[in-house]
């Protein structure tokens, strides 16, 4: 719990509502259990971190929450509705946007086009309307363009809007992927190792950036991260996974001192 929420609870006020709920999520591959009965809640507006050593099952968990993999058992609910059986595009329509561990930008397309594509769910114009440039299509096209430019401006890439995405430096690509996800107007943002490959300064900036967009866009953020200090500084709550199981859950200070967590990370960081 965040201190704020704890204060609220102490004063008898209701806690913030639950955004994402994972319940007994399990994923088996043949004989292996990649994720083993993991349950946790993510509250609205929280920045929630998911950490654990390599191979702990974090990405599999993520994939189950974003429609890329079906759980073998258990469920995932977003704002009360079951999403574990939905396709990725249906999940996006529910307001969950994600980035990928290995950056999956549309490399040959420009930064602007990348972000514009993510406006898809918020526009309706079809083939006929578009081809004939009917008023609705024209308005939507204008709006899509504007919105995309705003987001590019937010990450400082507006000046290079027409540059091909694959030509951007690594750090810019990561931020571009986040901007693209934001174009979806999500209410839950899932970031898969957003700080991978960054140096300390960049990680700091990313931290500030994530907090900034959480506040500005009223998001809930769920992120997987390998770099423990970043997570400690940024997240309101953390879940720790090891060998597919949840071994700790709570505020950063608690988790940091948890013996099971220290054990799991022996030697790492």
């Amino acid at each position: 719990m965040t201190t704020h929420a704890a204060e609220q609870a102490l004063q008898g006020r209701p806690m913030r509502s639950v955004a994402l709920e994972a319940e007994q999520l399990t994923r088996r591959f043949g004989g292996l259990v990649a994720v083993n009965r993991v349950s946790f809640d993510v509250g609205e507006g929280e920045i929630f971190g998911l950490i654990g050593p390599n191979g702990a099952g974090k990405t599999t968990l993520f994939n189950m929450m974003t429609g890329l993999q079906r759980p073998s058992s258990g469920s995932v609910r977003y704002r009360g509705a079951e999403i574990s059986t939905l396709r990725p595009d249906e999940i996006a329509r529910r307001g969950l946007a994600r980035t990928f561990q290995n950056i999956r930008l549309f490399g040959n397309l420009s930064a602007l086009e990348n972000v514009m594509i993510a406006r898809h769910v918020h526009t309706r114009s079809g083939v006929i309307g578009g081809i004939l440039a009917l008023p609705l299509a024209r308005r939507e096209e204008q709006h899509t363009h504007e919105r995309a430019c705003e987001l590019l401006d937010l990450i400082g890439l507006l000046g290079r809007a027409h540059q091909e995405a694959r030509t951007f430096p690594y750090g810019d690509q990561r931020r571009l992927e986040i901007a693209r996800a934001l174009a979806l107007e999500p209410t839950l943002l899932l970031l898969d190792e957003p700080a991978a490959g960054m140096n300390t300064n960049e990680k700091q900036e990313l931290s500030i950036f994530i907090r900034g967009i959480r506040d500005r866009f009223k998001l809930t953020v769920l992120l997987i991260e390998h770099h423990v200090p970043l997570v400690m500084g940024l997240c309101d709550r953390i879940a720790v996974l090891n060998f597919g199981q949840l071994i700790a859950l709570g505020a950063p200070e608690q988790v940091r001192q948890d013996p099971a967590v220290i054990d799991a990370y022996l030697g790492a960081e």
């Binding site: 990725p88 595009d89 994600r98 578009g130 504007e146 027409h162 979806l184």
Partner: protein
């Protein structure tokens, strides 16, 4: 001038039809689907035209008119001897609908497959269709259908229909690439997984692109059937698919102009070679090669094209600068 058009009229029309067939392969390719199904829909369209014009509204030489009869009753009569263009348009509509229905029926299951599996499924589809049309009486069996009437007095007359069609389809694809649906196609082509994560319904869009290509191929089939005058199962073959693939690969697979240029130029290429072969004094072996080597050339182009210009000759970055100027100004930029 008149002589030029008289001699080359049918070639010019055929070149434009080839451009559209290339576009029909380009459309599914926009969404990342490599499909060799176009010859099947082309054949279907041709059969629609052949059947309607020779069986449903056949020519009655006594009255020099095309008569639609049901039983003993005459429903409609169209004066001949040229086949009415209005009926040609009806045929195109029917072919479009049938192609669309078949494309959706075929696409829904098949487009879940990727890459090589999809390609194989489309090849199989064309082969199955070919055998079926060879066997059915409706399609004239192995012999096919003859004496398909002409709507125009000369081959060049077809230009009245073909040129607007080409312009329309070119415009259609040009616009498509710049609108929301087209962007969805491109996203799918670039990275399906990411496209889905961004809210794009993969199946819907893949089937849509595939169906657009099918309808275009069907319409071209209708015109070809009249132009060639006969139609049989040899009109929609695997070979033809290879030719269209060459048009797109060499012409350019990344912009709407690529297939058009590819179709026009590469269709004409064997004819040019045939012309060269007619030059007296050429060794007969070479002349023969030039005359019959159409497929050898297309095949070689496929091999060379994949190695040396996988994106084709007409590439989008040839226009990139112009495209930037044409798009709305990005706020803040001068």
């Amino acid at each position: 001038m008149a002589v030029f058009f008289a001699t080359y009229g049918s070639l010019i029309v055929a070149m434009m039809l080839a451009a559209m067939l290339a576009l029909s392969l380009y459309l599914p390719l926009l969404a990342g689907q490599l499909s060799l199904a176009s010859p099947g829909f082309y054949a279907l369209g041709g059969y629609v035209a052949a059947i309607i014009s020779t069986r449903v509204v056949p020519f009655d030489s006594a009255t020099q008119a095309y008569v639609w009869r049901l039983g003993a009753h005459e429903i409609l009569r169209f004066p001949g001897p040229l086949y009415p263009v209005s009926l040609l348009i009806v045929e195109m509509l029917v072919a479009s609908v049938l192609s669309a229905v078949l494309a959706v029926a075929l696409g829904l299951p098949a487009l879940r497959l990727r890459g090589i599996y999809l390609l194989l499924a489309t090849i199989a589809f064309v082969e199955i269709l070919q055998v079926v049309t060879q066997v059915l009486d409706l399609t004239g069996g192995a012999i096919g259908i003859f004496n398909i009437p002409q709507p125009f007095a000369s081959q060049l007359g077809y230009a009245w229909v073909v040129v607007p069609l080409l312009v329309l389809s070119a415009f259609f694809v040009y616009r498509l690439e710049r609108i929301r649906v087209g962007r969805a196609f491109t996203a799918i082509r670039e990275d399906e997984l990411a496209a889905a994560a961004m809210g794009i319904n993969l199946t819907y869009h893949k089937v849509l692109a595939f169906t657009m290509g099918a309808v275009l191929a069907g319409i071209v089939g209708v015109i070809s059937a009249h132009s060639i005058n006969t139609w049989n199962s040899r009109q929609g073959t695997f070979d033809a698919g290879i030719a269209y693939l060459a048009f797109v690969l060499i012409g350019g697979s990344r912009t709407f102009l690529g297939p058009i240029v590819g179709g026009i130029v590469l269709y004409a290429l064997p004819e040019v070679l045939r012309g060269i072969a007619a030059i007296p004094g050429l060794p007969p072996a070479l002349a023969q090669l030039l005359k019959d080597g159409r497929l050898i050339i297309y095949g070689l182009l496929l091999v060379l094209g994949t190695i040396f210009f996988p994106q084709g000759l007409i590439r989008p970055n040839l226009f990139r600068r112009r495209k930037f100027e044409a798009t709305r100004q990005v706020p803040g930029q001068v």
